[in-house]
Symmetry: C2
Subunit: 421 residues, 2 copies
Amino acid sequence: MIPDDLVRSIAQDARRASRRLATIEPHIKDAALRAMADALPAHQPDLLEANRRDLEAAQAAGLSRAMIDRLTLNEKRIREMAESLRRVATLDDPVGEIWDVHVRPNGLTVGRMRVPIGVIAIIYESRPNVTSDAASLCVKSGNAVILRGGKEAIHSNSKIAEIMSAAGRQAGLPENAIQLVPTTDRAAVSAMLKLADWIDLVIPRGGRSLIETVVRESTIPVIKHYDGNCYIYVDERANLDMALAIIVNAKTQRPGVCNAVETVLLHNCILEQFLPRLVEALRTKGVEIRASERCRKVVPDLVPATEEDWRTEYLDLILAIHSVGSPEEAIEFINTYGSHHTDAIVTEDYARAMAFLRGVDSSCVFVNASTRFSDGGEFGMGCEIGISTDKLHARGPMGLRELTTSKFIVLGSGQVRTGAS
Amino acid sequence: MIPDDLVRSIAQDARRASRRLATIEPHIKDAALRAMADALPAHQPDLLEANRRDLEAAQAAGLSRAMIDRLTLNEKRIREMAESLRRVATLDDPVGEIWDVHVRPNGLTVGRMRVPIGVIAIIYESRPNVTSDAASLCVKSGNAVILRGGKEAIHSNSKIAEIMSAAGRQAGLPENAIQLVPTTDRAAVSAMLKLADWIDLVIPRGGRSLIETVVRESTIPVIKHYDGNCYIYVDERANLDMALAIIVNAKTQRPGVCNAVETVLLHNCILEQFLPRLVEALRTKGVEIRASERCRKVVPDLVPATEEDWRTEYLDLILAIHSVGSPEEAIEFINTYGSHHTDAIVTEDYARAMAFLRGVDSSCVFVNASTRFSDGGEFGMGCEIGISTDKLHARGPMGLRELTTSKFIVLGSGQVRTGAS
């Protein structure tokens, strides 16, 4: 089948499945997720065999050790995938919630009902557990899902999707609730991104170039997950012990993730007092520091920072430090150079905390806490399909609710409209 | 200036304005809206003069009488624009609302804060009052707006925007809160649609071909307002007097608008009893009826309908009628042929009403009321920038709240993250 026909047929099947999924009883979805959780470990030999083929190809292609590690399945990782499916099954079903209900003067009752989005395509790279994670969240939220993993994981992803689909169907899910595009042909993605009649949302999960390509080619709405170039501003009125603990945590607890801090802004008035302590604490943890001129006057042996540093997501034990004259300057700086992901202020001053919350144009804005908490699980959402850096529909950590939309419902008793307009 | 540079400069100015607008005090925005409402009638001679230039060009270009009517400004229409501005000033400010607040086990307080989207571009056709309506809703919701009207209204739109900008600035709005693209060069729109770094949302208001062009060219998220091909399903268990009143109202009260009904589905069991009454009532109102075979067996002199009729938004005194064997069949039919805008069921049966509400995949789903109520004003939203037929971000009538987004706010007392992940 040529890619265009193939993906159109997949998308049309997904649309049909989505109609059934939209009104399926919650207990069927949960039973299906538990059946999938049973099925994955039960098919461990098949999964490892499929994964072995991907790993052989990866070694032959000379992929990096880190990539091969991400690609690797083993007993522990299969068990974790299953546990994650079971956890999703225990979450509250988001579909059908009715809210914002009010009665109009003419007696009409107007409200909103939470409903699935419909058909969601997930385009992702390398790690096979994204296949089971993404599929489970889409199913739980009543959406049909089309998965398109990276070519390096095609055998593993196909086997995971096959096992989950079969288990789901047996438990009562409609045919084609979960589909995986069975080709690594790049043209299939391009064709898929034009199918706005059958696919409602595309979520690319991967590097910037993947996301940019999807945005450029897609006529379907896309929710993007870009970098996290996170800032912490330490105010003149901060508790400096708290500031120290927060910065060290945000930089070193897990430096390779999007909610780690990358640049710290210090109020000029605390530079002399705080910067030497901060530098010492960070160096003990092996952090390299790049600092602006004014900071280097206080601690001369710091590496000079350039403007490029303010824009850089290091994902490593490197931290940029700059100083500012006011909270307003900090807000302006963060809005200019940050990535609108997660930024924090450390202060004991109420008005400054409020101004920072209002003024920083980011998906998550913190007062007196480590940026590392920017995470669906930590926010109490139970799960996360990613952290949206978009402003529309979903902003910040995306859980089940963010995989739904709403409709207006209007309950009448025979009302008709009168008047001229 | 070449179009690329022109629109980039406009967009960058808008971004700067949006930063100030995001945290401006509500009373300044309201004072600005009232100042604009004073300024428009005060500049009536200038407005009429600008409008005269557009009307002359329109007559020279041979535009239809309907288009020329839409384009025309007069004392009454200028007064209505001003009244609309005053009404927007009285609405609640949506910005800064905090909701969904909960405390995590570690003491972090996590919530959401409503904030403006940022910079919104509105691309629209013909009617000059869209200029003032759209600008006022964007300003009230704290967004900077870039207006791009049709070329036939360029002089009128420019003058309206100029008057509103000046009045707004004097009342304390930031420079460039309201801008109008001062060229009718098509290339300016194409260039603008690529400026995703400075423009957050594009709302095209106009015909299908305008919207499709915008979607194809834009790398900025777009909220679409497509047709309303609305359905009413009359169930076997309907109160038939109510059904008759609702259908006649939905078809004839104002046939040229998107929430008028276009196709009625009748349960087979009520055909004999109800169809002749319905035909008579509609014919009295001058409605042409196109019906499927089974309906024509009951009332033989009806025009035969084709499949094309089920997909058609007539916007006229024409109604298609079809019959179905069950509510399920009605839901399936509406999901297949409707435009997912507004659809209604008439029934006294609780389970069928609920199944219809859940099953119909439309932005507004009604029980026992005329589809004509599908409107931001009728829903109690106070205003409306359009009716989104998209599923993401805003679905159905869009008011001030739909012109905002949210951020997560996290209030801590020094929390740092522990544990392995």
